[in-house]
Symmetry: C2
Subunit: 171 residues, 2 copies
């Protein structure tokens, strides 16, 4: 593995362990087992490297999610997706960090917008994608209170009923 690849790996590791704000060029270089001057050589700047790392992580996550988006009952599918919060935790954290940094980097925002369109296509709508990323937020903050696949499937099913009730109440 060349230094360039090692740096991206190290950056991904630092992003999940310390987050963008707390990651220094020396942290990344140490994690990668490389001199920190290599960052300037290969990427020009710390920010550029971090964005590269985030983009790569987001793409990996996209793939992992789309693999689990099809097959089985809704409950099973939701559970499989929810399980990725644990199995792919670093990628999900990167995804979250990417969303934050996208507010300050048009390039990153563009990449995320693309991944989002793919996500909508893979999951079959804006709402399933919203549910998935929203559940991720809940799971990261308080896994004990986050719902499982059965609960999600149940609530989604109950939603149309609730809607109906709300409509009639409104009349």
């Amino acid at each position: 593995m060349g230094n360039r690849e090692a740096l991206i790996q190290g950056a991904k590791q630092c992003l999940t362990e310390r987050g963008w704000a707390r990651t220094t060029v020396r942290d990344i270089a140490t994690a990668a087992g490389v001199n920190h001057a290599a960052i300037g050589y290969h990427f020009g700047s710390r920010e550029s490297l971090l964005i590269h790392a985030l983009v790569e992580a987001v793409e990996e996550l996209s793939e992992a999610v789309s693999e689990r988006a099809r097959g089985g009952s809704p409950e099973e599918r939701w559970q499989a997706l929810i399980d990725t919060f644990g199995t792919h935790r670093p990628l999900w954290i990167a995804q979250l960090e990417a969303a934050v940094q996208a507010e300050h980097s048009p390039e990153l925002r563009e990449r995320l917008a693309l991944a989002q369109r793919q996500g909508r296509a893979g999951l079959g709508g804006s709402v399933p994608l919203a549910v998935l990323s929203g559940l991720m937020l809940q799971w990261l903050i308080d896994p004990a209170e986050a719902p499982d696949g059965a609960q999600v499937a149940l609530e989604l099913h109950a939603q149309s009923t609730a809607d109906f009730h709300a409509r009639s109440r409104e009349a």
Copy 2:
């Protein structure tokens, strides 16, 4: 307004304009019209101030959301909630930043977990909360592609039908 309050306001402003990673003590002090030594005096450290600011923002957002979570048809309610992405954009950005920083601050995570429980109660379940925060992510990254209230209500309703189809396909 005392310096302490001014600092929290300035911190909130910096958090939305530059994000946690790019906000320095001097940025905050300038935004607040205050000497940056006041941060040490009132909060002890930059991090402590930023966390205070995030917590305050999250609480403001909680309130704004719960005000709009009731009344009207589902479509109207969803639209009212989606509208807050624009009207309360700074607070939503703070919420997102808070979720990221919660990974590195147990205190902040605790506060967010509380707000999350309130959110579930106010919106009537884990899934509505997930939908709302997931939509926020979509809207921040690509407002043009994010769905409106009608679309969300429609997809939510269609969800149970889709579930049914999936179940029968599975058999």
